[in-house]
């Protein structure tokens, strides 16, 4: 069988999966957790507990602050100590709920047993409601609320559900371990997603560097007897796990500029999200923990840990033996798209998939030199953009020209920066322009909406 991949761009960094043999182990509970109310894209959640309240694991502690928002649950049992601003992973203060851990008492409604529940409830509305109540968000990195993604706008039709098990970022292994150790649950989660979207076919996409996972999931599908779910072996290529790239690779369709995947009939969910869907629907278990890869050349120990949401990073690293002397950076996420952590006292969020420790030598950037017009960045860009041009336009602050050259379509994968022989900070500059262009587009849309409403109001007044 030929292996699939996306049609334009991409790079091929060494996969460095050093922690692939480490089983997912639960991390002992931290003495205090700090749960952020802004763990997802969209409006921050609103705390519904007060200081001094006793909470149990799985109890709702913050409710959605809008349609695109998510429930936040307590990941531990204990007492709410404070609610207030605390620096997050990027150092910006946001509201966190501090809970002092006392024991490990779960809410009675949650099924904490290991038994596999394969019977899927028939009522799709009830399933969606459970996903919403479970605070499930996309765990592939963007943390977009899952129930919003599963409620496509009227008129659009889903033709295929894609479960993203590519894990194309180097170093990361948490999805791989999840597929191996919780394959059954992931497959049932995929079956639930498939049913919610109207019984359309479902593809679980896994890259070729994870043959054990491919074999295991194929075996599980056969054993559980779900029809319409298949495993697709993907060629190794970064950024295959990007939503638009994966749709191209699996379905051969390209999502237009500014359009959503549903416009070409695709819904993409990460492996970890499928597991969270299974937990929420079959076990009533909201997202209270997620598996985090701790890896890197200088990591105290390679590990895949099941970490409760809100655990301080320093606690995780201390558990494994402390931050080594030669570690220059701790990166939240993979080496390509991850961000360096501004302070280790920050706590994990639902979307924290990995902590990567890099040495000074690994993180050092060579000095920038001149663009030699080799075109490597344009070849590498999976969105078909021209990074060298966008970089120039961003430096000239020509935002209109950047919009004409589709800077807003940049997925910030870092392929341009990775491939540039002159070490030009292409992505850094494009990211500035992308932010401004997106702001301009939103401002124009808001102005157009206001003008239309004003015109409608004046027309109504004339009547």
């Amino acid at each position: 069988m030929s292996k699939h991949t996306f049609s334009i761009g991409g790079v091929h960094p060494h996969d460095n999966k050093m922690s692939r043999e480490c089983r997912i182990e639960p991390l002992p509970l931290a003495p205090t957790v700090y749960i952020s109310v802004a763990q997802h894209i969209g409006a921050p959640a609103v705390p519904v507990v007060a200081v001094g309240d006793k909470v149990k694991v799985g109890q709702v502690i913050a409710e959605p602050g809008g349609f695109v928002s998510a429930f936040i649950h307590s990941s531990v049992s204990g007492t709410v100590k404070s609610i207030g601003p605390r620096a997050d992973l990027s150092g910006r203060p946001s509201t966190h709920i501090e809970i002092a851990v006392e024991g490990d008492e779960w809410l009675e409604t949650i099924d904490t047993s290991d038994t596999l529940v394969t019977e899927i409830p028939a009522d799709n509305k009830a399933i969606l409601d459970k996903i919403r109540m479970g605070g499930v968000v996309g765990l592939g990195g963007a943390t977009f609320p899952t129930h919003v993604k599963l409620s496509p706008p009227p008129g659009s039709k889903c033709e295929r559900v894609i479960i993203n098990g590519c894990e194309c970022e180097p170093y990361l292994t948490s999805d791989f371990r999840t597929l191996l150790e919780k394959g059954e649950q992931v497959v049932v989660g995929a079956a639930i997603l498939k049913q919610v979207m109207g019984g359309v076919p479902c593809t679980i996409a896994i890259e070729e560097n994870k043959p054990e996972a491919i074999a295991h999931i194929r075996e599980v599908i056969g054993k559980l007897g779900f029809s319409g779910i298949e495993v697709m072996e993907m060629k190794m290529m970064y950024p295959q796990g990007g939503e638009k790239q994966l749709i191209d690779a699996v379905m051969g369709r390209q999502v237009g500029s500014g359009a959503l995947p549903i416009s070409v009939g695709a819904v993409v969910q990460n492996v970890a999200t499928a597991l969270a869907v299974y937990d929420a629907v079959q076990k009533n278990k909201p997202i209270v923990d997620n598996s985090v890869t701790i890896t890197g050349q200088c990591a105290p120990k390679q590990a895949n840990l099941l970490v409760r949401v809100g655990t301080p990073l320093r606690y995780i690293l201390d558990y494994l033996g402390g931050v080594p002397e030669n570690a220059a950076k701790v990166i939240s996420g993979g080496p390509m798209m991850g961000r360096a952590v501004a302070n280790l006292d920050a706590a994990t969020v639902k979307g924290t998939g990995a902590l990567l420790l890099l040495t000074e030598k690994e993180t050092r950037r060579a000095p920038e030199s001149h663009c030699i017009r080799c075109g490597k960045c344009a070849d590498a860009c999976p969105m078909g953009l021209e990074p060298f041009l966008l970089n120039k336009l961003a430096r000239a602050k020509d935002w209109d020209a950047m919009e004409q050259n589709a800077a807003q379509d940049c997925i910030e994968c870092g392929c341009c920066l990775y491939s540039c022989p002159a070490q030009i900070p292409l992505l850094d500059n494009i990211r500035i322009g992308k932010g401004i262009v997106l702001g301009n587009i939103r401002a124009r849309a808001a102005a157009a909406k206001a003008a239309a409403e004003a015109a409608k109001a004046s027309a109504d007044a004339k009547k």
Binding site: G84, P85, A87, S90, G91, R92, P93, R339, A340, A342, N343, T363, R364, R365, E368, P425, D428, N429, R431, I432, G435
Partner: protein, 326 residues
């Protein structure tokens, strides 16, 4: 042979005259009427083409100034009042002299006051740094220190002070064109009136965090306590979003707020004498005592029962005393 030469000269001359005539007629017919005053105005402009006036360059400013019915909305900050007087003379307009302005850096988070909590090794640009994270100190509002403002200044008026890690404005060179205010992603730099003999008071902080958070990140931060606003007798200070702001139009440069500020976030510059904190504080105390006495006296006149109750002004003074002692 001579014939050929004569003929050639004649033909070329006639051709030249003919073409000149065509050019003359075309130029006459399609002449673009341009106000000669535009050129005159452009000549007196500084010619920096900095865009500080809001137009693309000096020529664009001249065109706009000639078209406009008055000069109220057109002002060249670089040339200042002298240039505008010349422009007004050419155009026959009146121009109101504007108070000279200067760029003011509203961050005093020096390296000592604002300890670094991480180190940044990415591309050295404030704009890039601001898109990545909050910054290398605990303050997510303060100066990022990569010098985008210095690079934006065409007049060489800004420089980074290696001691403090903050930009310094050379008042002689600053033209208040505003390029630095646009370059700063944290919007720290403000264009303010220079003030009489350069004297001015301003809050040198834009941190909107609550007091304890701001204080923890930076010893010099404005904690939004509001003591300055309560002290000010000219109604010049507003505290909004946990940060104080002094309105330069209302400030009378009495320096009382500067003396009372518990963190030293309020700065006064170019004053001839150093700030005499104790003197000013005792002056404020005396005034507040007098006000309290007057209040209790008027209260006793109106309502003899309430006369013994402590007047509000006294309690405010007491609170301030306590805060000062801390």
């Amino acid at each position: 042979m001579v014939n050929i030469i004569i003929w050639t000269i004649a033909v070329v001359t006639v051709l030249g005259l003919l073409l000149a005539l065509i050019l003359y007629l075309v130029a006459k017919k399609f002449k673009v009427e341009e106000d000669p005053r535009i050129d005159e105005v452009e000549k007196v402009m500084p010619g920096a083409n900095c865009g500080g006036c809001g137009f693309a360059g000096c020529r664009a400013f001249a065109e706009a100034a000639v078209k406009a019915p008055n000069l109220d909305n057109n002002y060249c900050p670089v040339g200042g009042n002298d240039t505008m007087a010349q422009v007004a003379a050419i155009l026959g307009y009146e121009v109101k002299a504007k108070a000279p302005q200067v760029a003011v850096v509203r961050c005093n988070g020096t390296c000592q006051a604002r300890p670094k909590v991480n180190s940044y090794d990415g591309f050295s640009s404030c704009a890039v740094k601001a898109t990545l994270y909050a910054g290398d100190t605990g303050c997510s509002y303060g100066c990022l220190g990569c010098g985008d403002c210095v690079a934006a200044c065409q007049f060489g008026a800004l420089s980074m002070d290696p001691q403090t890690g903050l930009p310094v404005v050379d008042e002689e060179k600053c033209t208040a064109c505003g390029a630095c205010t646009k370059a700063c992603p944290k919007h720290i730099i403000e264009i303010r009136p220079k003030g009489p003999r350069g004297m001015r008071e301003f809050v040198s902080c834009v941190n909107k965090d609550k007091g304890p958070v701001a204080k923890k990140a930076c010893a010099n931060a404005c904690i939004g306590c509001g003591i300055c606003a309560k002290t000010c007798t000219h109604d010049a200070i507003t505290v909004e979003g946990n940060v104080a702001y002094i309105d330069p139009a209302k400030c009378k440069l009495c320096r009382e707020c500067e003396a009372m500020c518990p963190t030293g976030a309020i700065h006064g510059v170019n004053f001839p004498k150093p700030l005499d904190k104790e003197n000013i504080k005792s002056r404020i105390k005396l005034r507040q005592q007098k006000a309290a006495e007057a209040a209790s006296a008027s209260a006793s006149l109106r309502d003899p029962v309430r006369a013994n109750a402590p007047a509000e002004a006294v309690s405010v003074a007491k609170v301030k005393e306590e805060k000062k002692d801390e």
